[in-house]
């Protein structure tokens, strides 16, 4: 796992991908910070945390699309799968590398929060830490989805688009639920929606259920990726 993690980190940072990803994140969040917090002198952090959902939806699939599809295309998976490493280790290595790049990107909140803290003197730290926890878990869920889709195809573009569609679907579930008259179905759809669960944290509600939900999503999609790799070996 360690070797794969190191190699993926190197690949992210020797190619422009990580830099573009991080820069885009900084620009996007910085823009909201300047135009809302600075312009109106507000210390409300809700908006800078919730707005980030949209750009994550677009950027994370672009970051994860390469992870397995490229291996398959270049036949480098043959090297990994014949080395004494477990499939779980391979998936974990790639997952944590992508997660690290994501953590670098959300480090944008450190200067923002420092500035807000100095200006306002006090911030709702409980809410902020809750939101950051949820944000990391949300990012990790998106990454697991992206990795899973990437393991299904040889084409990076297909991987990116399909991951985006799946994440979009989980996002839209919330809106779609409003149109469903069956209450049971509607509640399931709402329960599965990423967006509501995430925004709850930003408004100060720390829902353990949502934490469990995100963790389950991460586990399930990473597990499915392992299954895909396993299945390919048994293909007949």
């Amino acid at each position: 796992m360690g070797a794969i993690f190191k190699r993926e980190m190197k690949a992210y940072f020797t190619s422009p991908i990580a830099y573009i990803f991080i820069t885009a994140f900084f620009l996007y969040t910085g823009n909201y910070f300047v135009n809302i917090n600075m312009a109106y002198g507000s210390t409300d952090t809700t908006y800078i945390f919730t707005s980030v959902f949209t750009i994550m939806m677009i950027l994370i699939p672009l970051m994860t699309m390469r992870l397995f599809s490229e291996e398959k295309k270049q036949r480098t998976d043959q090297g990994l799968l014949t080395a004494p490493v477990s499939l779980g280790g391979i998936v974990a290595g790639k997952f944590f590398a992508a997660l690290c790049v994501f953590l670098c990107a959300i480090s944008v909140y450190i200067p923002i929060l420092v500035v807000l803290h100095t200006l306002a003197g006090t911030l709702e730290w409980a809410t902020i830490f809750g939101t950051i926890t949820a944000l990391i878990l949300l990012g990790a869920s998106f990454i697991s989805i992206g990795i899973f889709v990437s393991s299904l195809t040889e084409s990076q573009i297909v991987a990116a688009i399909v991951s985006f569609v799946i994440i979009m679907f989980f996002y839209m579930l919330d809106l779609l639920a409003g149109n469903v008259s069956n209450e049971f179905l509607s509640s399931i759809m709402k329960g599965l929606a990423f967006y509501t669960r995430y925004t709850e944290f930003a408004s100060g509600i720390f829902n353990i259920g949502s934490i469990v939900y995100f963790l389950s999503a991460i586990f399930i999609f990473n597990f499915l990726t392992v299954r895909v790799l396993e299945k390919r070996r048994w293909a007949d």
Binding site: S15, Q74, T76, G79, P84, R233
Partner: protein
């Protein structure tokens, strides 16, 4: 040691590998030979745990690759058909990555230097793999298989894309490695297998068509022996002389190899060794023997015979080639084309004789 028992891989209704069994002993270099699509790579992929087998088992030093994959994979160094190289890394980074991936415990710097020295990639150590030539990429792949000094090496067409000098280097290297490692090598270059391997397995349509030492395979199939000699002297008289030697069935001397010097193809009765007798008689006449060799069937002939034996079209085409080269006995052909060849040669010979007489 590698033990393969009744290994089968089925893709849908097609059996890519069909119930093959063989054993490779320690320190043996085994050649895998077969036409494209015969199941060589599939077998190798099953041995290395890249794909699973439908039935049967493969034991790597006694460890079943499916039961204990991690342990078994540690025993193997694998070079797949397309070396699994990350093009965005430098050779140094890549080999370090493989070193860590294989969880090596050997002293890192010394070991990597050793491996690079062996496959001669030290001069490109700091270059990005993307920019390397095919030959260098192949050698980096070979280096990655060697990392960790695995007792078993499985090399899928290791010399593809190399220039002739590099091919010879890699062959020498494989031979050297074969002293310490157990090696399985696949190739479609037949001379390579002949040059490097102790033993050959010919695979055709997923089945083992032959499994023997290179020499045995060559000897067994060549029943009649044929002698090829290059003699400097009067052609007519030489032909006459050779015919008088006991044991000679026929002689053919229409191949002018050097100006005025002919090659004589002598067909000898089975079990007769006429070389000494012939030598004495020729020397007694003050002619000079420039070359003499027993013509053995090359692995190429055996290969074609085994894999395509019944295919008449191919054997006809092959006999044409033989007519041009004329230094390889062609046992694989049916009697038909050979006779045709003989009759075609006869008038040519006569014409030549006439010409000479005129001169």
């Amino acid at each position: 040691m590698i033990e393969v028992r009744n290994l089968t891989k089925q893709y849908g209704s097609k059996k890519a590998v069909d119930n093959i069994s063989f054993t490779v002993n320690d320190g043996e270099i085994l050649g895998f030979l077969g036409p494209n699509g015969a199941g060589k790579s599939t077998t190798m992929n099953m041995l290395t745990g890249y794909i699973s087998s439908t039935s049967g088992e493969a034991l790597i030093n006694g460890i079943n690759i499916l039961d204990e994959p991690m342990k078994a994979k540690k025993e193997i160094g694998y070079l797949p058909e397309i070396p699994p190289l990350y093009l965005d890394m430098t050779v140094k980074e890549y080999l370090n990555f493989v070193y860590e991936l294989k969880k090596c415990s050997l002293p890192r710097k010394a070991h990597l230097e050793d491996v690079c020295g062996l496959v001669k990639i030290t001069d490109v150590y700091d270059r990005v793999i993307r920019n390397l030539s095919k030959g260098y990429k192949q050698r980096v792949g070979l280096a990655s298989a060697l990392i960790g000094n695995p007792p078993i090496l499985i090399l899928d067409e290791p010399t593809v894309g190399l220039d002739p000098k590099q091919i010879i280097e890699i062959r020498t290297l494989i031979k050297k490695l074969g002293k310490k490692h157990t090696v399985i090598l696949s190739s479609h270059i037949l001379s390579e297998i002949q040059a490097v391997c102790d033993r050959v397995i010919i695979i055709n349509k997923g089945k083992i068509a032959a499994d023997d030492t290179t020499e045995n395979l060559t000897e067994n199939i060549t029943a009649d022996s044929r002698l090829i000699m290059r003699i400097d002297g009067n052609r007519e008289e030489i032909l006459k002389l050779i015919k008088t030697v006991p044991g000679v069935i026929s002689v053919n001397g229409d191949m002018e190899r050097e100006p005025g010097i002919y090659d004589y193809e002598i067909e000898v009765k089975e079990g007769c060794d006429i070389r000494r007798e012939l030598f004495k008689r020729i020397v007694a006449r003050n002619w000079v023997i420039l070359g003499m060799k027993k013509d053995e069937m090359s692995l190429e002939d055996i290969f074609l015979k085994i894999t395509m034996g019944s295919d008449v079209k191919i054997s006809v085409k092959k006999s044409d080639e033989k007519a041009e080269k004329s230094d390889i006995v062609d046992e694989a052909d049916s009697a038909g084309p050979e006779k045709a060849e003989e009759t075609a040669e006869a008038p040519a010979e006569n014409e030549e004789t006439k010409k000479e007489e005129e001169e």
